[in-house]
Amino acid sequence: MFAYVVRRVLATIPVMAIVALFVFSLLYIAPGDPAAVIAGDQATPQDVERIRASLGLDRPFLVRFGEWVWNILRGDMGVSIFTNLPVTTMIQQRIEPTLSLMILTLCLAVSIAVPMGVVAAWKQGSWIDRAVMGFAVLGFSVPVFVVGYVLAYIFALELDWLPVQGYTKFEEGFFPWLENLILPAIALGGVYIALIARITRATMLEVLQQDYIRTARAKGAGQTSILFLHALKNAAVPIVTVIGIGIALLIGGAVVTESVFAIPGLGRLTVDAILRRDYPVIQGVVLLFSFVYVLVNLLIDLLYTLFDPRIRY
């Protein structure tokens, strides 16, 4: 087991290296002259040269890449072109709202989507099943910012139940924090719920056809016990896997959700950085999110043993 964990952790290093290489080499493979693009249309040739030097584009690729990786390993992600602040500082300032939003969305989505999928599979073909599947297609089709605006319009503007925008820190109390985050979390959770509900339903349908479910029925087990004890535990591995993979959707969606609800998180930082063509910041955020994503999926891999005794390392 321990050896397996070590092996899996080591296996993520090449993946991270490729992520880093890819994010870094975008500067070199992007069509056109990135330095000119970043400098903007009104820039003088001197401005472009200054940016070229600050990005290190005037030096050989490999030298610059090695230097960059070395700096990142020491916790230095470079300096923002626009604010001249270290990228790590900027990220630190913005990380709490994003983390709050993503964790709340994750909990909300999993606790809604899994029972939804289970019930849909149980009542396959019924109106409940159709409603869940219909909701899932809608969840995939309506973009997160549209959901955000509709929710904000109904619950904040028309009904005035919740604040329209903004963020309250967790230290200032759970309920103010929740009040500000609940609408963004629901908006962001839409696609994620759709994804998890669908895979839960699909896996459950397959599991419910297995012989051991028939055995459980023949023993006189009740419906709840069959669904949640006998079936769901067998369906857990694919469901948990998709929960991990779906985090990519949450990360992408957070960028937009934070804009709609004016939450001062990493997503907003990214959007602001794009408008200012502040590439070091974008680089830092992309790298951080990818790192978190890889880490979460590694963790989920290691959790498989909890659900299935057949998986041994």
Binding site: T215, K219, G220, R310
Partner: protein
Amino acid sequence: MAEPLLVVENLQTHFRTPDGINRAVDGVSFHVNAGETVAIVGESGCGKSVTSMSILRLIPEPPGKIAGSIRFQGRDLLKLSEPEMRSIRGNDISMIFQEPMTSLNPVLNIGRQIGETLRLHQGLSAREAEAKAVEMLKLVGIPEPGRRVREYPHQLSGGMRQRVMIAIALACNPKLLIADEPTTALDVTIQAQILELMRDLKRTVGAAIVLITHDLGVVAEVAERVVVMYAGKKVEEAPVVELFNTPRHPYTQGLLGSMPKLGSSLTGTETRLAEIPGLVPSLKQKIPGCVFASRCPHATDFCVKVAPALEPKAPGHVAACHYALKEGAIAA
């Protein structure tokens, strides 16, 4: 005489499919007395498994639909509510399935799976249930039951798993045990052991058994009475010795003829294994005449038009064939 333990009358189990209704079981009647072993035989797809699943109402409705009546100890199971049915499953009537490899839940340990029945029907606590599970494992002949009880199905062999299935089925001392091809998926040596075990346990527990199988060898060894099914219908029923000696229905004769006989190749009388030509008819079409007519060597136009009723051909022996001779006719 009191009513038999189980009386199945005109059982029909149909399924809705996109291209028509599948009449998997279409008007089957039989009974099982307390403590008796009745075998239901037939080729795969003849409806014998569906019949057994229908008794416990394990057929999903929809797309399935069960009609007729299934009286167990005088109560019609088809009229019971789902909770009432649940209190019978695994308690009064229990079932063993064909595939021991897939019939146990892979993520729950053995003790928990045996104990579940006890906790459901006898209200035992988790600890009591585990203790009883160890006892049951010992009863079905599993060595080191105290250790095995904590193990998972993938750690056991096929024969061991079928023993566990039997332990689950017998945990609550059922009055009726339905065994659906209990030995088919096992090695021949293991098959014999499992049959032996079932016979022993039947003696100690005193349960009646409905044995579903296509293996006439198994039937000859354990059954007292045999029901032969073909294309969703019962075509013949007789005490086991009578059936093997004087089969009346051409289908049964075909089945027995396709059984290899021990030593036939050694004695030099090189008799070919008879086989029944043709295929089982589709159950999605209604068949007006005899269901076996399309494959029967003796079939006439009349057989194709008029379905034969089950007629008594000898004491305790019925067959559905216009041409099968009756006891008196043979004598004459």
